[in-house]
């Protein structure tokens, strides 16, 4: 491979404008395709969210039917988790990891391309299931049996089977990607880049990959058993025949909780890259931040049953999972305090990446704290499966992860495409999303406390229920406008070519990806400086300044 560099950018039909993307094994192009595809699915999933908010805007509405609401709700969750957050992290990882560690490409470029194409295939299978017999899956993104079983009153259509197939394909994609990241990070770091000089985003991708390999087989196994139940007459999850519904819940959440950290750890990694650059300081407590990532990953494997406190596990298990869940708050708190300390006495440059990072910090802290309520299992008995929990995980997944993703997009956009996105539109994007997000999800806490369960297609209470739901829907629209501003920004920057071209390092950043041109050439680097710290570019700037004087 490495000796046949002409194979990567061959001549002939493969170098056409479209064909070159279809056959590429270049990690940067694969990364961009991952990110673009994820953003496309983000728009689709967001559309579903708006449909749900429209249905719930007032009591007793008939915007969607009951059946379609359940389909829309299931597809929204599945899309956002499996087709947006996990793959967009793989996209950023693909683009950034080889550049950050000074490598030529990922360890297995063809396997890398396979990961991407499997992801796209899985997404198509899931989304084409709308047209299958019986419509899309409608048992929620957990697909708990027996509601997801093939009984005529449960999920008799083919949508659930396509859902299972999509999960299988996406699992393969994720595991191939994870193996690739691990091999790349372990073997291809440039000279001088010891583990303690590695960018924190790379630490996060390493941990993300390990968690994917540990957690993904659990859901693969669970949905395989479900597939056998549905189509081949087994009874793994049919209680009348000796099956166990709790078995599925255990298998699902053994994957499901690490999945949360699979999604959030790379977001943490992005924040750990961006905050120092825009504070003009090093990250506070590099080792604490790196090792707390590993600690979170370790404990995330031990907390799954806190999703099952209302299933009657017994006080012994409830107590164990409460304590293990609370333990996770400690390394997470360490990160938050280190990030805060990073900004302390800094020179805070309020460009959009920093704005989104502060948005992340403010919202993720809130989402983390509401998690304490849910870890305390007697309180969880009251709050679980209510809108409180919907609010909680959106503060983590949207307020946390999506805000970090936007920070990352605005930060690395010039490196990916060589042009700067418009700053004023970026700030408009931030404020619309920040205000819209809080309007959407803050009232949901109150709805849950008032007794509104999640996953209901309508409600009949007026009064506060209607007020809070109305605010929430209005906030959803505002958030969507915020995202539309982002899309408009891309159009203005590239479609109209208004974006200013940038040099190698527009932000005066710290890490190696800023050493090469923007966008980087196919081979990434002509040469890579010997790395002597976690901030090789700053070292370089200092040496240049010293040479000049």
């Amino acid at each position: 491979m490495a000796t046949r560099s002409e194979a990567v950018y061959p001549v002939g039909w493969k170098s056409g404008r479209v064909a070159s993307w279809l056959v590429t094994v270049d990690h940067k192009r694969i990364g961009i395709m991952y990110i673009a595809t994820s953003i496309f699915f983000f728009a689709l999933g967001g559309l579903l969210a708006i449909l749900m908010r429209a249905q719930l805007a007032g009591p007793g509405e008939h915007f969607l039917t009951k059946n379609s609401y359940n389909e829309v709700m299931t597809m929204h969750g599945t899309t956002m988790i499996f087709l947006v957050v996990v793959p967009i992290m793989a996209g950023f990882g693909n683009f950034l990891v080889p550049l950050m560690i000074g490598a030529r490409d990922m360890a297995f470029p063809r396997l890398n391309a396979l990961s991407y194409w499997l992801f796209l295939l899985g997404g198509l299978v899931l989304w084409l299931s709308w047209f299958s017999k019986g419509g899309a899956a409608h048992a929620g993104w957990w697909s708990y049996p027996t509601l997801s079983e093939a009984m005529p009153w449960a999920s008799p259509g083919h949508g659930q089977d396509y859902w299972i197939l999509a999960i299988h394909i996406l699992t393969l994609s994720s595991i191939f990607g994870a193996i690739n990241f691990i091999v790349t990070i372990h073997n291809m770091r440039t000279a001088g880049m010891t583990w303690m000089r590695m960018p924190l985003f790379v630490w996060a991708m390493e941990t993300y990959s390990i968690l994917l390999i540990l957690a993904m087989p659990a859901i693969s196994a669970a949905v395989t058993l479900l597939l056998l139940d549905r189509n081949f007459g087994t009874h793994f999850f049919i209680p009348g025949h000796g099956g166990s519904l709790l078995l599925y819940q255990h298998m699902f959440w053994f994957f499901g909780h690490p999945e949360v950290y699979i999604m959030v750890l790379p977001a943490f990694g992005m924040i750990s890259e961006i905050l120092p650059v825009f504070s003009r300081k090093p990250i506070f407590g590099y080792k604490a931040v790196a090792f707390s990532t590993l600690a979170i990953a370790f404990f995330s494997m031990l907390v799954w049953a806190h999703h099952m406190f209302t299933t009657g596990l017994g006080l012994g298990l409830d107590g164990f999972f409460m304590i293990s869940s609370m333990v996770i708050a400690v390394p997470t708190g360490i990160k938050i305090f280190n990030w805060l300390a990073t900004t302390w006495r800094g020179n805070l440059i309020f460009d959009s990446p920093l704005l989104f990072s502060f948005g992340f910090l403010a919202l993720f802290t809130f989402g983390g704290l509401t998690g304490i309520f849910l870890a305390a299992f007697p309180v969880d008995w009251q709050l679980n499966d209510s809108y409180f929990i919907v609010a909680h995980f959106h503060y983590v997944a949207f307020g946390g992860i999506v805000f970090a993703l936007f920070a990352g997009l605005y930060y690395w956009w010039p490196k990916m495409f060589g042009r700067m996105l418009d700053e004023r539109l970026a700030k408009l994007n931030f404020w619309l999303m920040f205000i819209g997000f809080n309007m959407t999800f803050l009232p949901m806490h109150m709805l849950g406390l008032l007794g509104m369960p999640r996953r209901v297609y309508t409600y009949h209470h007026g009064g506060l229920w209607a007020v809070y739901n109305g605010i929430s829907t209005a906030g959803g629209v505002l958030t969507a406008i915020g995202v539309a501003v982002f899309v408009a920004n891309i159009w203005i920057t590239h479609g109209l070519r208004k974006g200013a071209r940038v040099g190698n390092d527009p932000w005066m950043a710290d890490t190696l990806e800023w050493y090469t041109t923007s966008p980087p050439p196919p081979h990434n680097f002509d040469s890579v400086p010997y790395v002597t710290s976690a901030r090789p570019l700053r070292d370089l700037r200092r040496r240049l300044a010293e040479d000049a004087t």
Binding site: T310, V330, N347, L361, T365
Partner: protein, 330 residues
Amino acid sequence: MRRKLPTFVLAVVVALATALVTASVAAATNGGLTPVQPESPNASHTLTAYWVIVGFTGAIFFLVEGLLIAFIWKYRSRGRGRAVEGPQVHGHSRLEVIWTVIPVLILCAIGIVVFFQLPKIDAAPASAHPIHITVEGHQFYWQFDYPNKTRSINTLYVPAGRVVYLKVVATDVIHSWWIPALGGKIQAIPGKVNYTWFKAPPGTYEGQCAELCGVYHASMTAHVVAESQPAYDAYIGAQAAATIGKQEWSGVCATCHGNLGQGGYGPNIATNSLLVQVAGLEQILRNGFVGGTGAMPPVGDTWNSAQIQALVAYVKKNVYKAAPAGGATQ
């Protein structure tokens, strides 16, 4: 960077205004900042634990968000160029220890409070005459079995002030029993038996199924009516049996077929003669039905024959309209 100031001030003002409006709306109507007004001891102790957690997490929230806003204000660039660096501080071991240990202590405190409240939430107070009732979750209704083998649908009658133990079960899909004022939820899982309890003063309490159970998940509401002992005795003595046919029709059949059997999610059955044939109806109720347009769950798989006869009697009198000789419907 002085020009950045107005945006920031504007943002703070907007945020404070939103928070104030929301909080005052919620406080004025006592809704949404805490779980609903508890009426059962387990719910009250849950509320106590909730307030303790609000206290600790609220303090952390204001600390973190306060520092964040203060740092944003104090260390904003003010036009210093990008080349101006802050002090190159790489960390501080004592600080790391402090912000590791203090959260641990806070979590220990929360854990202790929770475990201290737990026995009063989990276990009912000792009671000489507790009542044992079975709650059965179904697509899409709740069925209650009283100690004297009578049943009611969707509305649970209990004597006020007595400890009520609920055995929570299901036969089709997972449901979740939740009356917010009377304590937390517990799933009704096919193949598993779960328990919960409450003790309610006189009143009517509302709740609904909290676990997605199919198309009519949102309609699966439940009411608990706590009344005087004589009223309760009278209810399970005769009233329950006398009204079970009506309860079944309006709580089970009407959800899909409409109050008059005119159809809705399910087909129009008002003139379907199967409605008044005990054997035929029993077959459908017990086994479900797969028709041209959809499927009916086996809604009556746990019903006894008295229940089915009561339903037929009610339907014959109130719903069924035999097609007139002319053949016109309805």
